[in-house]
């Protein structure tokens, strides 16, 4: 009797649909809470592939219609840079150094705000960087 009551209560399509939905939400939030420290790591290299130290990397937050200047970071001798506490889900990165000009802007999109990001492809100072399109 009780068993069949529980069965009708939880094994109909409404309960199953919303149950699955709840489980997915909970799972997703768990994943997010482990990965939202807002750390971005990456490298800057010259056209020949050698790391560039002392370059300024600019982080731009892309909002729906406008782009807002986020923060800046300097690269170390290995050309590595780290941003902490970024709070965005859509950014542009661009490196600049006196005498070398600017790298092209590279776009990164994330699945949630403040997602940790390890950028494999380094930002690279290419030959002609000003003319996109």
């Amino acid at each position: 009797m009780l068993h069949s009551a529980l069965y009708t209560l939880f094994c109909n399509r409404f309960a199953i649909t919303f149950g699955v939905f709840l489980i997915i939400t909970a799972g997703w939030n768990t994943i997010v809470s482990f990965n939202d420290d807002g750390i971005i790591k990456g490298r800057v290299v010259a056209a020949d592939g050698k790391p560039v130290g002392g370059a300024t990397v600019t982080l731009l937050n892309k909002e729906l219609l406008v782009t807002v200047l986020g923060s800046r970071a300097m690269t170390n001798e290995q050309g590595q840079f780290t941003f902490t506490h970024h709070n965005s889900h859509h950014i542009w990165l661009q490196a600049a150094k006196d005498g070398m000009g600017e790298t092209p802007r590279v776009e990164f999109r994330m699945y949630f705000k403040g997602q940790n990001l390890n950028i494999e492809t380094p930002l690279s100072f290419a030959e002609n960087d000003t003319k996109g399109q």
Partner: protein, 270 residues
């Protein structure tokens, strides 16, 4: 001959279904690729799909808040509609003085477009102290005239003998309504739920006027606002559209058995 007509039927229906489904597909495809204004010819299959537009849309609007507001308003409207319309429909099956006047009044009320009532309705709602509230949003939609007449027709079709014998057995009048009449009026109830749901779910101008706080906004307002901000240039708009469609479609698909069966196999046969 028979087989031919069977195939023709299937062909016609499949084509119709295709026409009905293509907009959904196209919306989904665009929300995943964000194919922008200037790519031509349009690719029929999604090229390089991703869900980042959903992320954009999610962070651009408090979606859950809007959804909750919409759901609350729709719930109030649906419940109120069934109760009020059934009550009025039942009353109209009886004879009383002034019935003709009431019916004429209802018939002409049906023809007042709501856009025209917005300003005085706003002033009235302000007097009631219901501006910027869920109840205020729901109030004008709480009864639907078409549905009153549907209930009336449906109640009138319940065999008199059934009611009379119940009365002789001493069943109280309200139990006659809830125990006998309503279960036999599935069709009317289903239609009522569908209509009340769509009309309240769609309600746009009225909330636009009476809402003041951002956290009282409903989904249609959110979508229209979003459209006016990004116009039709961003995949995020279409992602938001999908997010807006899903609750309605999920509810409908889950409850379609009740809806469509309720609508098509009502108790009006008797």
């Amino acid at each position: 001959m028979r087989r031919h007509s069977l195939w023709a039927t299937h062909l016609l229906l499949s084509t119709t279904c295709l026409v009905m489904l293509v907009p959904f597909y196209w919306l989904l495809k665009t929300s995943l690729t964000g194919e922008n204004l200037f790519s031509y010819p349009p690719a029929l299959l999604p090229d390089n799909p991703h869900i980042f537009y959903y992320v954009d849309a999610w962070y651009s609007i408090p979606f859950v808040r809007y959804l909750l507001n919409s759901v609350v308003v729709s719930a109030i409207v649906i419940v109120a509609n069934i109760i009020f319309n059934a009550m009025a429909g039942y009353a109209l099956t009886m004879d009383f003085k002034g019935k003709r006047v009431v019916i004429l009044l209802l018939l002409s009320c049906m023809m007042v477009p709501y856009q025209a009532t917005v300003v005085p309705a706003y002033l009235l709602t302000k007097e009631l102290g219901l501006l910027n509230s869920h109840l205020g949003m729901a109030l004008p939609l709480m009864s639907t005239i078409v549905c009153i007449f549907m209930f009336k027709a449906s109640f009138a079709a319940v065999p008199r003998s059934l009611i009379d014998s119940a009365r002789i057995d001493g069943v109280p009048e309200w139990q006659i309504i809830f125990r006998i009449m309503l279960p036999l009026s599935q069709s009317a109830i289903a239609t009522n739920v569908v209509l009340a749901f769509t009309w309240s779910w769609n309600s746009f101008l009225w909330p636009l006027i009476i809402l003041r706080d951002d956290n009282m906004q409903t989904l249609p307002l959110g979508l229209a606002n979003f459209l006016s901000v990004v116009e039709d240039t961003s995949g995020a708009l279409y992602a938001f559209c999908i997010m807006v469609l899903i609750p309605g479609l999920v509810i409908f698909l889950l409850a379609q058995k009740q809806f469509i069966q309720g609508l098509t196999t009502g108790a009006t046969k008797g």
